[in-house]
């Protein structure tokens, strides 16, 4: 269905009272950037837009908005819908409280450069090997790989942006926020930053929908998507694509024939 119709449908549902809120996009001031819109009144309906700058994945706002049984309409691109599905699987939102409007997407553009985002290019061009970058890293020697990642990860300023935007990172309270366990301190040291990165990667392992938002949002340009992709690839190879709860389920039929691989340094 075209994007205009979806917007019309949502407006109609809102007026009929089928939904009490719409999560969509709007413009602010003169900027061409599209930002999230939280529509709660008929007057605001006119603000709704959909264009090639609506890159934000809105699904994560559902946790807060769809609480207490409020019916929320939400605009979702293909990649965003996967994030919502994950949150339903994680029991973080109830599907009966959500009315999704899936919109077509032909790639989103960076409002600053006008270029189509890298993650979107990859999504649109199906001829590309989606694991090309992972294989590149897999082909490095252990030491090269170690140096590469230490180089990248040491740039991290622990701003938490990657965590906050991620639909898979949807816990009530993040483990890093647990005050009494001293998992992470405030100081920026390499060891603790590495700890942060490893925990982030493993907490979304098996659940990352590969929306690429973490990598897009990272202010220092760490290629987080490569880590997620590597884990996605490993899970696919070791367990097959179909299994949902691979890393968090107890199954009597699991075998334990993993080959031992050694790391570098």
């Amino acid at each position: 269905m075209g994007k205009i119709e979806m917007i019309l449908n949502a407006k109609e549902d809102f007026k009929l009272g089928k939904i009490q809120m719409i999560l969509g996009w709007k413009k602010e001031d003169e900027s061409i950037e599209s930002i999230p819109a939280f529509i709660e009144s008929v007057e605001e309906l006119e603000e709704l837009i959909y264009d090639e700058y609506c890159v934000n994945n809105l699904s994560k706002y559902l946790i807060e908005e769809a609480k207490n049984g409020k019916k929320v309409g939400i605009f979702l691109k293909k990649c965003d819908a996967l994030g919502m599905e994950q949150m339903i699987k994680d029991n973080r939102i109830l599907s009966e409280n959500i009315v999704p409007y899936q919109v077509e997407c032909s790639g989103m553009k960076d409002f600053q450069t006008g270029e189509i985002f890298k993650k979107c290019q990859k999504c649109l061009d199906e001829s590309q090997d989606k694991y090309a970058e992972v294989k590149e890293i897999e082909n490095m020697t252990h030491d090269e790989r170690y140096d590469y990642w230490m180089g990248e990860l040491s740039k991290c300023i622990r701003c938490n942006a990657c965590r906050n935007i991620c639909p898979a990172c949807n816990c009530e309270t993040c483990v890093f926020e647990k005050k009494d366990e001293d998992i992470l301190g405030k100081a920026n040291n390499e060891s603790e930053t590495g700890f942060y990165q490893i925990i982030r990667a493993y907490h979304v392992a098996g659940r990352c929908s590969d929306c690429g938002e973490c990598e897009r949002i990272c202010p220092v340009g760490i290629p987080l998507g490569k880590i997620n992709k590597k884990i996605i690839k490993d899970i696919e190879e070791l367990y097959g694509k179909e299994d949902d709860d691979t890393l968090s389920s107890f199954n009597l039929e699991d075998d334990d024939t993993f080959t031992e691989k050694k790391g570098g340094k």
Binding site: N91, C171, T173, V175, F250
Partner: protein, 660 residues
């Protein structure tokens, strides 16, 4: 500030030989909280324990660290000692400096350094230890025995005689197992059936025993004292309550070409059948694959001739759910398939296995006890036995272990032939003859000295059929001479192996097995009939190759263990159970999917948070079901679930103590 006491054990030279215990004590004596530290030869001895108790009282200690052997060995000992001195037993922490240090290091310096690290970690953890209190659960006074061979029957009889209810679940249509197939037993040459059959009848008639034959274990849940077991009763197509065991249906069944499993394929059976004449229960089953009614829709003769209308072609599989306090595994063994031993021409009718031999020489067997060649019914004049076929064989096709029973049964077979037909020439090829058992060596010597059986040390290279004969090529390894024997019959002592479904069963029961899929005991010397899962015991050859006397002895031992358990009023739960911080829990269910014991459920709850009431779904742990495995704690992303006694904080403290 804590008042921690550290006790470093020498374990005689077990630890002190490779770890400088004084240096360990010295290294930790000034750590924060440590107010008392000693090293002593044997901490587990009475004197050692008294040191611990006295120190608790005199120095007013509130945490204890013992650097000694594995907690599996003596954690309970030291906890008990602490408790008797008035300290909560969970305030005791053990650093394993034996298995983890002295036993794995040769270099004293390295061993000592590691022992210091581990002791420091234990002190760091002990600082955070908290008093724990365990709950209790009731014990269901009923035992389950899986497997209805001699091991299962003996176990069940013993438990039943002690006054408890027992259910036997047996896969095949009758109890009796391998022993029922055997002709005579070594070393006494008793008639196997004569000693077994009365026990089978006793088991069936015992008011405390229920038999589930032709049944399998579908699933096992729960925990010691309260195992919830689903038993799948396969359809017999015969109503057990109505059938009188008259056997008319069997007589009249026109489909007679099935291979008799009990006769090792040496005889045929009908589609409706009982495995053997003395089967218990005597109710037949219909082999669906072979039955004309099931295959073509025509026939139904058995049903027509049955006086009590017991045949039920529409019978369906049935699931019985039952709760048990204890489980004994007695699933037995199999012989390996000889497909990969082409050199013996196993497919030749006159090349048989030891078990086939048992049937051929049995008065109730396919030849009525006449010992003849399956190929032509003639009496063999020359018989060659080959031992260790697949046993003690490290190659892919064999088993590396000794099958234990073959030396003895081969000697028995040889004697049985010589007894009946003294003019038969009998050869036995062996690697070693192993006869360590009461009256075993005497038995073997009788075969050689009294019966003149030719024992030749050496392996058979090849068996080649030539006309009516089987040419056996071998080398007498003592003289180095090549031999060729024109035998009429060759009997192979094929290796024993675990049952093919042992792995599936071990997973259902959460117990472990060795490389060869035999179930493993909790400790070979101290807990030989227990498994590592509380309340689950082992009897017989499912644990490894065993003869009948050993099997029966172990069966009674397993029964005794089960009886001890069933006689308890209640069981103390594990105090190290997991626990949910409901404020942090996001109700994602990851922990409940992970928990192998189904101990976690998700519940809607009112949570008080900063003065507000929030209604949300959170995880809840059933402490009676939780086994403290810790699986949930690592699957919880926000770290909302934590194991008492092994909290994230305690483990982080250990890591810090070692790394920082």
């Amino acid at each position: 500030m804590r008042r921690i006491g550290v006790f470093v054990c020498w374990c005689g030279s077990n630890i002190a030989g490779t770890v400088d215990v004084e240096k360990v004590r010295e290294a930790v004596k000034d750590m924060p909280g440590v107010v008392h530290s000693v090293d002593y030869q044997y901490m587990c001895s009475e004197v050692g324990q008294n040191y611990l108790k006295d120190a608790i009282k005199e120095k007013n200690l509130d945490r204890i660290v013992v650097a000694s052997c594995s907690p599996r060995m003596h954690e309970a000992t030291f906890r008990k000692a602490a408790e008797s001195a008035g300290l909560n037993p969970y305030l005791v922490e053990i650093a394993n400096i034996r298995e983890h240090c002295s036993w794995v290091h040769k270099d004293k310096e390295v061993g000592t350094e590691k022992a210091i690290s581990l002791t420091k970690a234990a002190i760091a953890k002990a600082t955070l230890n908290e008093e724990l209190v365990s709950g209790t659960t009731q014990v269901e006074k009923r035992a389950l025995v899986i497997g209805g061979g001699i091991a299962g029957i003996q176990t069940a009889l013993d438990i039943a005689d002690a006054g408890y209810l027992v259910d036997i679940v047996e896969q095949t249509p009758s109890i009796g197992g391998k022993m029922a197939q055997i002709d005579k037993t070594f070393p006494t040459l008793d008639c196997s059936a004569c000693i077994l059959t009365p026990k089978m009848v006793d088991a069936a008639a015992h008011p405390n025993i229920t038999l589930y034959t032709y049944s399998e274990i579908e699933s096992v849940n729960g925990f010691v004292g309260n195992f919830n077991v689903a038993i799948k009763k396969k359809p017999r197509y015969v109503d057990m309550d109505k059938c009188t065991g008259c056997g008319v249906c069997i007589e009249k069944c026109p489909s007679k070409k099935g291979k008799s499993e009990f006769e090792e394929g040496l005889a045929t059976r009908t589609a409706i059948y009982t495995p053997f004449a003395q089967s218990v229960p005597k109710v037949p089953v219909i082999d669906k694959e072979q039955c004309l009614k099931f295959k073509t829709g025509k026939c139904g003769i058995c049903s027509a001739v049955c006086g009590t209308k017991a045949v039920k072609f529409d019978q369906e599989e049935e699931i019985v759910n039952q709760t048990y306090g204890a489980i004994v595994l007695a699933t037995g063994f199999d012989l390996i398939k000889l497909d990969n031993f082409g050199e013996f021409h196993n497919e030749h009718p006159d090349v048989i296995t030891g078990l086939e031999f048992e049937r051929l020489t049995n008065a109730a067997g396919p030849t009525k006890g006449k010992f003849v060649k399956p190929s032509n019914g003639e009496r063999p004049k020359k018989v060659v036995f080959v031992q260790c076929v697949g046993s003690r064989d490290k190659s892919e096709r064999g088993k590396s272990y000794c099958s234990k029973i073959c030396c003895m049964y081969t000697a028995k077979h040889a004697m049985l032939i010589k007894d009946k037909y003294p003019d038969t020439e009998v050869y036995v090829f062996y690697i070693d003859v192993r006869t360590p058992g009461k009256n075993f060596d005497e038995f073997h010597r009788r075969a050689v000295e009294e019966y003149g059986v030719h024992y030749i040390k050496g392996m058979v290279g090849k068996v080649m059929p030539e006309g009516e004969k089987l040419m056996v090529q071998a080398i007498d390894s003592l003289s180095g001479t090549p031999l060729e024997i024109d035998a009429d019959m060759v009997v192979l002592a094929s290796a024993t192996q675990a049952k093919p479904d042992a792995v599936a069963l071990k997973r259902k029961l959460n117990i472990s097995s060795d490389l060869n899929n035999f179930f493993t005991e909790a400790h070979p010397k101290l807990k030989p009939v227990e498994t590592a899962s509380a309340g689950i015991y082992l009897a017989g050859a499912c644990q490894g190759p065993k003869d009948i006397p050993e099997t029966v002895a172990q069966a009674s031992a397993a029964a005794a263990k089960a009886i001890i358990l069933l006689s308890k009023k209640e069981l103390t739960n594990n105090a190290c159970v997991s626990n949910v911080n409901k404020n942090i829990c996001s109700g994602c269910k990851a922990c409940s999917k992970m928990c192998p014991y189904d101990a976690i459920s998700i519940k809607m709850m009112d949570i008080y948070e900063h003065g507000k009431v929030i209604r949300k779904e959170v995880a809840e742990v059933n402490e009676a079901l939780c086994q403290g495995c810790g699986g949930c704690t690592v699957s919880c992303r926000p770290g909302a679930i934590d194991l008492r006694g092994f909290t994230n904080k305690q483990i982080m403290a250990e890591v810090d103590a070692i790394c920082l």
